[in-house]
């Protein structure tokens, strides 16, 4: 069931939470709403579910305008971040709630619950009350309840937030397939960029009540529209360095710690402008001191991070830079080291606006490899 939001605006008292938000999700696709807390993601889900009303704008589900349509008539399922299980009902009755609303027979309800419980591995706790469930079981029960009625649209509000790391990882691998099998249109809210990249056919980055960028995970990660978005995707965070591009023959270069970094000639119009160079930690490499354009750095600390090693280094100018490499690959021996930048993997932003600069198309073969 397709979902279309146009010009949604919502304010509580005087505070504007959402401003002119428009989104379009095709049937069976997953859209991830990604953004820091307080960005208005949860409010957006509630608007779609119909438990609150927008101040302006329209919501269409399956082509039907939802104005004045009660939540129970919208054919949506929702999983809440805090689970919102009914405390006085068993897990089974919780999951059954959409089915009883559809007036299914007892045997249909029973078999429906059994199938879901098996899929989500909560068969053994169906008789338990929510307070007797672990967080992981609560989360699965809440998910089962959202799925049980086979709704056309599924709204998932950061469902993995309150579960432990191990389960979160497992669910991150399992859940996309489960959702695909449901064949529902999914809106998934998260603050975890890894979840966003893993789940989303499309990601909408929301910040301060506005959609900042919509795109596939590739587009968002490789061409973030602003420095802010670049900082939100990637761990460790992208290194941002103030630079001023200069013309160097037909090339454009910037200087980092007195070492020239050659950029795409398509950046020619940025020459002389104040810019920010974005370099992801994995785009740095440790090299021998005599390598071309090696930047000398002081090694501060090293720490492992999910099969990578993160090194915090200081350039001669006192700039902090984070460098990662796959665990087990050789790195610096403390003290001083030298790094180079993979210039093809860099991003250039306009400093004043923070917006990404897109290089003008260059003749094939002329771009720097």
């Amino acid at each position: 069931m397709s979902l279309k939001l146009a010009g949604i605006t919502k304010a509580f008292k005087k505070e504007i939470v959402l401003q002119d938000v428009s989104l379009d999700v095709e049937t069976g696709k997953t859209l991830v709403l990604f953004g820091p807390s307080g960005a208005g993601k949860t409010v957006l889900l509630r608007l779609i579910a119909g438990v609150i009303e927008p101040d302006a704008g329209t919501i269409q589900i399956a082509g039907r305008d939802m104005e004045g349509v009660e939540p129970e008539d919208r054919d949506v399922g929702m999983a809440f971040q805090n689970f919102a299980l009914f405390p006085h009902m068993s897990a089974e009755d919780n999951i059954a709630s959409p089915l009883t609303a559809q007036r299914q027979s007892q045997s249909e309800i029973k078999s429906g619950i059994q199938a879901l419980a098996k899929l989500l591995k909560i068969e053994h706790v169906l008789g338990h009350k929510p307070k007797e469930l672990s967080n992981g079981q609560k989360q699965r029960t809440a998910l089962a309840r959202a799925l049980a009625g086979k709704p056309g649209s599924l709204l998932l509000d950061d469902p993995l937030r309150n579960v432990d790391a191990k389960l979160r990882f497992e669910m991150r691998l399992e859940l996309p397939r489960l959702l695909k099998d449901q064949n529902a249109t999914v809106i998934y809210v998260t603050q975890d960029y890894k979840e966003a990249m893993a789940f989303g056919d499309q990601i909408a980055v929301i910040h301060e009540g506005q959609v900042q960028q919509i795109g596939t995970p590739e587009e968002i990660y490789l061409t973030p529209a602003t420095t802010e978005i670049a900082r939100l995707f990637g761990d460790p965070v992208i290194n941002l360095m103030d630079v001023a591009p200069e013309a160097r023959g037909r090339m454009v270069s910037v200087s980092v710690s007195d070492q020239p970094i050659m950029l795409d000639p398509g950046y020619a119009e940025m020459v002389g402008q104040e810019c920010v160079l974005g370099v992801r930690p994995e785009a740095f490499r440790f090299v021998e001191p005599n390598s071309p354009s090696a930047i000398p750095v002081q090694v501060e600390t090293e720490a492992p991070l999910n099969e990578k090693t993160v090194t915090l280094v200081l350039t001669a100018g006192g700039r902090e830079v984070m460098v990662t490499r796959p665990s087990g690959t050789p790195g610096p021996n403390g003290g001083t080291a030298h790094i180079t930048i993979d210039s093809a993997a860099t991003l250039l932003f306009d400093r004043a606006s923070g917006r990404l600069c897109v290089p003008k198309a260059t003749i094939a073969g002329e771009a720097i490899a």
Partner: protein, 285 residues
Amino acid sequence: MQQKSTLEQILRGVALACVIFFFMFPIFWILLMSFQTNETILRVPPSMVFEPTLTNYRSLISGTLEGSTATLEIKFMGNLWNSLFLSVTSVTVGLILGVPAAYAFAKLKFRGSEDIAFTLLSFRFAPPLLVLLPLTIYFQQLGLADTYFGLIWVYQLIVLPLILWIVRGYFEDIPSDIEYAYRIAGHGFWTTFRKIALPLAGPGIAAAGLLAFIFAWNNFIFALVLASADKQPVTVGALAFITAAGINYGQIAAGIMLSIAPTFALALYAQRYLVEGLSLGAVKG
């Protein structure tokens, strides 16, 4: 720290005993009085040694009071029945009106809802006598004076604010997400109210009902002014024991024992709810 010392245990016991003695002594003394005649009650110095008698209870139940000069008819059992009827009906009406109102005040924030809720509560602040004077006149004109209907109506002044405020607190404590979840699952507003809001506020509703019952039972002034002998509750009925020939302490004591018995039993039975209710829903599971 795990093992309390013996001295500590003894001191705790003594302290507890003192508190219990302080609060329970009046009731205990009245219980003793209810089994005595006026002569033994008024002995100086008072003594705990006496020959117990059931005459006080007997005369209350039979309805005849043997005075020194004459025999007085009292309708104590009728009063007891009036108390029960008035309290139960008032609370029932109060719950039927108050619970949905409390829900509206808690969950459906509308313009002026806070003001209206406070106005309702403020009825509790008004001195009852001040209200009573004009009320008596209206009631007489409307023909409501000395009717059960009129009394129950007036009792709403006591019962309704109490129920409203306690139950509202409980409804406010129910996370909206839980109700939203039930709505989104496909249930309408009223089903959600019935299946989610009511059961979850159940302890609060029970506590409010119990407290309202006790407050209604203990009411004196409304019934004193607005009800004649055959509609009077025990609180007013007990006045009959203060006769021209003297005060019948024994019967008063027995009357008190009989009249507090239902509320006392209720309080003991539902202690937990009452405490929760009085802390206005602050207790969360």
